[in-house]
């Protein structure tokens, strides 16, 4: 059987279906790689492969990975990344998630405008991105999923192709189903970028609601307009979950000090209630949001933004309400290709392709011989000035077109499960090519997300 020549290669079989291009992202969860499909059906198609670090010893398979997979398995929406495959590397029990590749993300787009072209993002693009982001979020929220880690680097935009300019919400590592969780959601030792963190969380709220995502959307909206993070607090690094005074201070300075009148449940938030670091001390009276974002207080854009940045989560605008806002009804109206305005003649920006670090292999080890210096590690680890690398994930989305690939792969799982020809029906695991640690490998596939009932038919022949 085809598996025989596995021993000739150090690569697990699942990996041999891809050409690895290089590393494109890194975060606390692990690494993201760019790869291209070798098979004839989808030859050259770009795939982002997210490798999860193994969880700590004795904890089995990474819970973050498992949660991301289980959520992604259930959701399908044009503005949400779709998982196309799951691979298991049994060598170290790590999981690899394969997504369609998105060439851009808001972090890079904003950076490009700020540092390279030195001009603001055009209104059509801002509005289209925002609308699609809300559309994806509305879908998630109506499925009781809170993302919890929205930030520019997690909002992807598709490059050239059928889905050019389509926005994809990515990185569900921290996402949760919030209907009746068995434990308060705050107990998960969350490490979320603080700049986009909602004030109720900064003040110690125990339960997340979809309103935390809307706060982040407000921050991102402002950043699209000004090209600068709206609330750029200095993070206190400590575990677990230290009080982030500076972040709150930055918020208060722009929005004015919160009051019990504007936000009644404020009194019950632990840090407010205990007056941690004298948080109740009133320093700022006047809101200056409109001047910070250079919007007229009467403009619909400002009205929408201020509703997203409402202190009281109960009064904060929801994704569904936001999509109905007047801002989206006025010209220019939002479109599907956020990067290219539909009106002919309007200028659009050519965004650079994502930097790829070709010196890192799938194991995450760096080869000494660099093949090709990456333009700047910037896009990869998020080390922009002041950048907050904590979690710059660059998961790429997916969607479309991968169906054929699923079918090719689907046999893997099924083979082991459903098949029957006696001994090791289609060669499951047991490959021992990679010496590595005492761990090992096997591989898995994931399959058709759209779920046809039951398993796809067993395929006997292996792809060459």
């Amino acid at each position: 059987m085809a598996d025989g020549n596995r021993s000739n290669s150090n690569k697990p079989e699942w990996l041999q279906q891809y050409d690895l291009i290089g590393k494109i992202g890194e975060g606390t969860y692990g690494l993201v790689f760019l790869a291209r499909i070798k098979s004839t059906t989808n030859r050259g198609k770009s795939i982002a492969i997210k490798k999860f670090k193994q969880s700590k010893d004795g904890d089995g398979v990474s819970p973050t990975a498992i949660r991301e997979i289980m959520l992604l398995r259930e959701i399908t929406h044009e503005n949400v990344v779709k998982l196309v495959n799951v691979h298991i590397n049994h060598t170290d029990m790590s999981l690899y998630l394969a997504f369609d590749y998105a060439e851009h993300d808001l972090y890079e787009i904003i950076r490009h405008h700020r540092d390279k072209v030195n001009q603001s993002i055009n209104q059509y693009t801002v509005k289209s991105i925002l609308w699609q982001l809300l559309n994806g979020l509305n879908y998630l929220h109506s499925n009781w999923i809170v993302h919890r880690d929205l930030k520019p680097s997690n909002i992807l935009v598709m490059g050239d192709g059928e889905e050019h300019g389509v926005v994809k919400v990515a990185d569900f590592g921290l996402a949760r189903i919030y209907l009746a969780p068995l434990k308060p959601l705050s107990e998960n030792g969350v490490v979320v970028t603080i700049w986009y963190r909602a004030p109720e969380l900064l003040l110690g709220a125990k339960h997340y609601t979809s309103a935390v995502d809307m706060w982040a959307v407000g921050c991102i909206f402002a950043e699209l307009l000004t090209l600068k993070p709206l609330f750029q607090g200095a993070e206190v690094k400590a575990t677990p979950n230290p009080f982030q005074l500076d972040q709150l201070d930055k918020i208060f300075k722009v929005l004015g000090h919160p009051t019990l009148e504007k936000w009644p449940s404020l009194a019950h938030l632990p840090h407010w209630n205990q007056d941690t670091s004298h948080i109740q001390g009133h320093k700022y009276d006047n809101a200056s949001l409109n001047s910070v974002v250079h919007l007229s207080p009467k403009s619909p854009a400002y009205d929408l933004l201020s509703k997203m940045l409402e202190y009281d989560p109960k009064r904060r605008i929801t994704a569904a309400q936001a999509m109905e806002h007047e801002y989206f009804k006025m010209e220019p109206q939002p479109g599907r290709n956020a990067l290219v305005p539909c009106q002919p003649g309007e200028a659009f920006v050519n965004y650079p392709t994502r930097p790829v670090d070709t010196t890192t292999d799938f194991e995450g080890t760096t080869n000494m011989q660099q093949s090709q210096p990456v333009s700047s590690g910037a896009a990869i680890a998020g080390n922009m000035p002041g950048g907050h690398a904590s979690n710059r994930s660059v998961p790429r989305p997916i969607n479309v077109g991968m169906q054929r690939m699923h079918q090719l792969q689907a046999y893997n799982l099924t083979s082991q499960a459903g098949m029957s020809s006696g001994i090791n029906p289609a060669g499951i695991p047991m490959q021992r090519g990679v010496p590595q640690q005492a761990h090992q490998q096997q591989q898995l596939r994931r399959k058709d997300p759209m779920g046809m009932p039951g398993y796809p038919p067993q395929q006997k022949s292996r792809r060459m």
Binding site: G60, A417, G418, G422, N424
Partner: protein, 331 residues
């Protein structure tokens, strides 16, 4: 919770009775074939999560006579074993005071796992514990494998070894819908429909509690693989209502029916509810004697026979199987 209508649970894990039998047959048949060729059926899951298949006995064919002494389990016998461990699973969850939701998730994982495999291939005790461990992880009620293992005096490494194969066999479809929440939802709407006083409320409580116990019973049958959670909940409530007579159930059914633009007809729904009832009625735990007998058979299928040769085989396979598995592949 994500929408059941678009869920993998609905699209991939609810089967027709025929399909279910086919799957049981296929797993059983494969294990039988393995037994014929190799003289044993059990797959070893190693520390690294890899599977080792029993090695084909070189003279399997010549030696048919010898192996013929080891009898494979029938599908019915497999069923008895599963029933036994599903009860165990509930026991373990109760001992740990896990929420109902975790127990239900673990049970559904266990059932789905053995749609893909025969109990002759993977030891149900290990799989049961791994399903509980996985359910805890999925439901964010994390319990360390060590803790879980200790609580039942089992080696926790075995739980970790099996974790990946369990996820794989579930095809990573890990969000499952148990009927308990639907029971609550339907009870709420009954309450709304029947304007009720204080003692009525007590009645609804009793109704709901009995229905939950009914669901517990259903969870031990095949019905969670055959019917959506909403129908299971309705069947449980109907049975419970027959006992407590709180509402006119038929008119309740037609009320909710008119609210949902269901693709089913009322007749179909009633047929499903009757079918669920009959699954519960048909359910029986195997006697201790039967179990003992089946267990003995099962152990010899695994190659864990009491006589020395079996032991030797087991040991040997640990060393040799790695090499031999590749050999097997190459042939």
């Amino acid at each position: 919770m994500a929408d059941f209508q678009t869920s993998t649970h609905r699209s991939k894990w609810i089967f027709s009775p025929q399909k279910l039998i086919e799957k049981y047959k296929a797993a059983n048949k494969r294990a039988k074939q393995t037994l014929d060729t190799c003289g044993a059926t059990l797959m070893e899951v190693d520390v690294d999560g890899s599977l080792t298949y029993p090695q084909p006995h070189p003279n399997a064919n010549d030696n048919g006579e010898k192996h013929s002494r080891i009898k494979p389990l029938s599908i019915e016998e497999e069923q008895s074993i599963k029933v036994f461990y599903e009860n165990k699973l509930q026991e373990v969850c109760n001992n740990f005071h896990f929420p109902h939701k975790i127990q239900a998730t673990a049970l559904i994982f266990f059932k789905r796992f053995y749609l893909q495999w025969s109990v002759m291939e993977h030891q149900p005790k290990n799989i049961m514990l791994t399903c509980i461990y996985a359910a805890c992880k999925i439901e964010e009620n994390h319990v360390s494998a060590e803790e879980l293992g200790k609580g039942i005096s089992q080696d926790h490494q075995m739980i970790l070894n099996n974790e990946m194969i369990v996820y794989q066999s579930l095809d990573f479809d890990l969000i499952v819908y148990a009927p308990y929440r639907s029971v609550e939802g339907f009870t709420d709407s009954m309450e709304e429909l029947c304007i009720s006083g204080e003692d009525e409320l007590q009645k609804f409580k009793a109704l709901q509690n009995t229905a939950r116990l009914e669901v517990d019973k259903m969870m031990l049958t095949d019905s969670p693989l055959l019917f959506p959670p909403g129908q299971l909940a309705l069947a449980a409530l109907r049975t419970s209502n027959a006992l407590h007579t709180v509402v006119d159930f038929d008119s309740f059914l037609s009320r909710i029916f008119s609210h949902q633009n269901s693709t089913h007809t009322m007749t179909e729904l009633l047929e499903s509810l009757d079918a669920i009832d009959s699954w519960v009625r048909k359910y029986k735990s195997p006697s201790e004697k039967e179990l003992k007998h089946i267990n003995r058979k099962l152990k010899s299928c695994w190659g864990h026979s009491s006589h020395d040769e079996g032991k030797k085989r087991e040991k040997k396979s640990k060393h040799k199987s790695r090499k031999s598995s590749n050999e097997a592949l190459n042939t």
